[in-house]
Amino acid sequence: MPPKPHRVLLDRVSGYADEAAAYVRRRRVARQPFARLYYTEGRASDHAADSLAGAELFIAAGRLIEIAGKRPNAGKRAR
Protein backbone atom coordinates (compact mmCIF):
# COMPACT_ATOMS: atom_id res chain seq x y z
CA MET A 1 0.00 0.00 0.00
CA PRO A 2 1.47 3.43 -0.90
CA PRO A 3 2.28 5.75 2.00
CA LYS A 4 -0.13 8.53 2.77
CA PRO A 5 0.79 11.78 0.95
CA HIS A 6 1.38 13.78 4.12
CA ARG A 7 3.94 11.17 5.28
CA VAL A 8 5.91 11.59 2.05
CA LEU A 9 5.93 15.32 2.63
CA LEU A 10 7.01 14.93 6.26
CA ASP A 11 9.81 12.56 5.30
CA ARG A 12 11.07 14.99 2.70
CA VAL A 13 11.00 17.96 5.06
CA SER A 14 12.80 16.05 7.80
CA GLY A 15 15.38 14.93 5.24
CA TYR A 16 16.08 18.54 4.29
CA ALA A 17 16.26 19.51 7.97
CA ASP A 18 18.82 16.74 8.60
CA GLU A 19 20.92 17.97 5.66
CA ALA A 20 20.80 21.55 6.92
CA ALA A 21 21.77 20.48 10.44
CA ALA A 22 24.75 18.52 9.10
CA TYR A 23 25.82 21.51 7.00
CA VAL A 24 25.68 23.84 10.01
CA ARG A 25 27.60 21.31 12.12
CA ARG A 26 30.34 20.94 9.47
CA ARG A 27 30.53 24.69 9.05
CA ARG A 28 30.88 25.21 12.80
CA VAL A 29 33.79 22.75 12.92
CA ALA A 30 35.46 24.30 9.88
CA ARG A 31 35.22 27.80 11.34
CA GLN A 32 37.05 26.90 14.54
CA PRO A 33 40.25 28.90 14.87
CA PHE A 34 43.45 26.86 14.89
CA ALA A 35 47.17 27.40 15.35
CA ARG A 36 49.54 24.73 14.09
CA LEU A 37 53.29 24.85 14.33
CA TYR A 38 55.51 22.53 12.36
CA TYR A 39 59.05 21.56 13.23
CA THR A 40 61.86 19.77 11.47
CA GLU A 41 61.36 16.08 10.76
CA GLY A 42 57.64 16.61 10.35
CA ARG A 43 56.69 17.09 13.99
CA ALA A 44 53.70 19.37 14.49
CA SER A 45 51.88 20.84 17.45
CA ASP A 46 48.40 22.24 17.74
CA HIS A 47 47.65 25.09 20.13
CA ALA A 48 44.12 25.70 21.32
CA ALA A 49 42.84 29.25 21.39
CA ASP A 50 42.29 29.06 25.15
CA SER A 51 45.88 28.02 25.90
CA LEU A 52 48.50 30.65 26.72
CA ALA A 53 50.63 29.95 23.63
CA GLY A 54 47.53 29.72 21.44
CA ALA A 55 46.20 33.06 22.64
CA GLU A 56 49.55 34.76 21.99
CA LEU A 57 49.74 33.20 18.54
CA PHE A 58 46.26 34.42 17.64
CA ILE A 59 47.03 37.94 18.82
CA ALA A 60 50.29 38.07 16.84
CA ALA A 61 48.66 36.56 13.75
CA GLY A 62 45.78 39.02 14.06
CA ARG A 63 48.22 41.90 13.75
CA LEU A 64 49.57 40.49 10.49
CA ILE A 65 46.04 39.99 9.17
CA GLU A 66 45.36 43.62 10.03
CA ILE A 67 48.44 44.83 8.12
CA ALA A 68 47.59 42.73 5.09
CA GLY A 69 44.10 44.22 4.90
CA LYS A 70 41.73 43.04 2.24
CA ARG A 71 42.59 41.11 -0.87
CA PRO A 72 43.41 43.58 -3.71
CA ASN A 73 41.01 41.92 -6.14
CA ALA A 74 38.37 40.98 -3.56
CA GLY A 75 34.96 40.53 -5.11
CA LYS A 76 36.28 40.28 -8.66
CA ARG A 77 36.90 36.56 -8.63
CA ALA A 78 34.08 34.18 -9.40
CA ARG A 79 34.07 31.56 -6.65
Partner: protein, 138 residues
Protein backbone atom coordinates in the same frame (compact mmCIF):
# COMPACT_ATOMS: atom_id res chain seq x y z
CA UNK B 1 65.36 20.01 4.32
CA UNK B 2 67.92 22.73 4.05
CA UNK B 3 67.48 25.11 6.92
CA UNK B 4 70.95 26.54 6.74
CA UNK B 5 71.72 30.14 6.01
CA UNK B 6 71.68 31.24 2.41
CA UNK B 7 75.07 31.75 0.86
CA UNK B 8 73.68 34.40 -1.48
CA UNK B 9 72.82 37.95 -0.54
CA UNK B 10 69.21 38.33 -1.53
CA UNK B 11 68.38 41.69 -3.06
CA UNK B 12 65.19 43.56 -2.31
CA UNK B 13 64.41 43.60 -6.00
CA UNK B 14 64.57 39.81 -6.26
CA UNK B 15 62.45 39.44 -3.12
CA UNK B 16 59.87 41.89 -4.48
CA UNK B 17 59.76 39.93 -7.71
CA UNK B 18 59.27 36.70 -5.77
CA UNK B 19 56.49 38.22 -3.68
CA UNK B 20 54.76 39.51 -6.80
CA UNK B 21 55.02 36.04 -8.32
CA UNK B 22 53.52 34.48 -5.18
CA UNK B 23 50.67 37.00 -5.25
CA UNK B 24 50.04 36.21 -8.90
CA UNK B 25 49.93 32.46 -8.22
CA UNK B 26 47.74 32.67 -5.11
CA UNK B 27 44.34 34.26 -5.67
CA UNK B 28 43.51 34.08 -1.95
CA UNK B 29 46.58 36.01 -0.90
CA UNK B 30 45.93 39.34 0.81
CA UNK B 31 49.49 40.27 1.57
CA UNK B 32 52.85 38.94 2.54
CA UNK B 33 56.47 39.63 3.27
CA UNK B 34 59.89 38.09 2.81
CA UNK B 35 62.44 38.59 5.54
CA UNK B 36 66.10 37.77 5.84
CA UNK B 37 67.76 35.85 8.66
CA UNK B 38 68.08 38.99 10.80
CA UNK B 39 64.37 39.70 10.48
CA UNK B 40 64.79 42.64 8.13
CA UNK B 41 62.13 42.99 5.47
CA UNK B 42 63.38 42.32 1.95
CA UNK B 43 59.95 42.81 0.42
CA UNK B 44 56.47 43.39 1.79
CA UNK B 45 53.03 44.13 0.47
CA UNK B 46 52.53 47.01 2.91
CA UNK B 47 54.52 49.05 5.37
CA UNK B 48 57.84 47.24 5.87
CA UNK B 49 58.38 48.47 9.42
CA UNK B 50 55.06 47.09 10.61
CA UNK B 51 55.68 43.80 8.84
CA UNK B 52 59.13 43.57 10.44
CA UNK B 53 57.86 44.25 13.95
CA UNK B 54 54.75 42.10 13.78
CA UNK B 55 56.52 39.26 11.98
CA UNK B 56 59.24 39.28 14.62
CA UNK B 57 56.59 39.17 17.34
CA UNK B 58 54.78 36.26 15.70
CA UNK B 59 57.95 34.25 15.14
CA UNK B 60 59.10 34.91 18.70
CA UNK B 61 55.80 33.67 20.10
CA UNK B 62 55.87 30.63 17.81
CA UNK B 63 59.43 29.75 18.79
CA UNK B 64 58.59 30.16 22.45
CA UNK B 65 55.63 27.79 22.16
CA UNK B 66 57.89 24.79 21.56
CA UNK B 67 61.34 23.62 22.50
CA UNK B 68 62.86 24.37 19.10
CA UNK B 69 62.41 27.02 16.39
CA UNK B 70 59.40 26.49 14.16
CA UNK B 71 59.94 25.64 10.54
CA UNK B 72 56.43 26.38 9.39
CA UNK B 73 53.29 27.84 10.91
CA UNK B 74 49.65 27.99 9.95
CA UNK B 75 47.16 29.96 11.99
CA UNK B 76 43.53 30.37 11.03
CA UNK B 77 40.96 32.67 12.55
CA UNK B 78 37.68 34.08 11.36
CA UNK B 79 39.49 37.11 9.93
CA UNK B 80 41.89 35.13 7.76
CA UNK B 81 44.83 32.75 7.77
CA UNK B 82 48.51 33.34 8.33
CA UNK B 83 51.20 31.13 6.86
CA UNK B 84 54.89 31.26 7.67
CA UNK B 85 57.83 29.31 6.29
CA UNK B 86 61.49 29.35 7.24
CA UNK B 87 63.81 28.08 4.59
CA UNK B 88 67.47 28.59 3.76
CA UNK B 89 67.83 31.40 6.26
CA UNK B 90 64.88 33.31 4.83
CA UNK B 91 61.34 33.73 6.09
CA UNK B 92 58.18 34.08 4.03
CA UNK B 93 54.90 35.16 5.59
CA UNK B 94 51.56 35.23 3.85
CA UNK B 95 48.08 36.30 4.87
CA UNK B 96 45.12 34.84 3.01
CA UNK B 97 41.36 34.63 3.15
CA UNK B 98 39.86 31.75 5.10
CA UNK B 99 39.99 28.29 3.53
CA UNK B 100 42.95 29.00 1.26
CA UNK B 101 44.66 26.01 -0.33
CA UNK B 102 47.29 25.64 2.34
CA UNK B 103 49.43 22.87 0.85
CA UNK B 104 49.79 24.67 -2.45
CA UNK B 105 50.55 27.99 -0.84
CA UNK B 106 53.17 26.48 1.46
CA UNK B 107 54.72 24.65 -1.49
CA UNK B 108 54.92 27.91 -3.45
CA UNK B 109 56.37 29.78 -0.48
CA UNK B 110 59.08 27.14 -0.06
CA UNK B 111 59.82 27.20 -3.77
CA UNK B 112 60.32 30.95 -3.92
CA UNK B 113 62.50 30.96 -0.81
CA UNK B 114 64.65 28.14 -2.19
CA UNK B 115 65.04 29.98 -5.45
CA UNK B 116 65.89 33.27 -3.76
CA UNK B 117 68.51 31.51 -1.64
CA UNK B 118 70.07 30.15 -4.81
CA UNK B 119 70.33 33.62 -6.28
CA UNK B 120 67.17 33.58 -8.38
CA UNK B 121 64.21 35.91 -8.39
CA UNK B 122 61.77 33.43 -6.88
CA UNK B 123 60.31 32.26 -10.16
CA UNK B 124 62.31 29.06 -10.39
CA UNK B 125 65.25 28.19 -12.55
CA UNK B 126 63.20 27.90 -15.71
CA UNK B 127 60.77 30.65 -14.77
CA UNK B 128 57.80 28.78 -16.19
CA UNK B 129 56.47 26.71 -13.31
CA UNK B 130 52.94 27.54 -14.27
CA UNK B 131 53.31 25.93 -17.67
CA UNK B 132 52.18 22.36 -17.13
CA UNK B 133 53.61 21.79 -13.67
CA UNK B 134 52.06 24.79 -11.98
CA UNK B 135 49.22 24.77 -9.50
CA UNK B 136 46.68 25.87 -12.08
CA UNK B 137 47.34 22.73 -14.05
CA UNK B 138 46.63 20.50 -11.05
Amino acid sequence: MDDGQTSEVVSGEAAASALAYLTEMSPDLRGGAILDAEGDVLAASGRPTRWRDDAAALLAVADKAGDEPVEQLHIGSEQGEVFGVRQSGLVALAVTDRFALSSLLLFDMRAILRDLAEGGDGKGRDGDRDEGGGRDAA
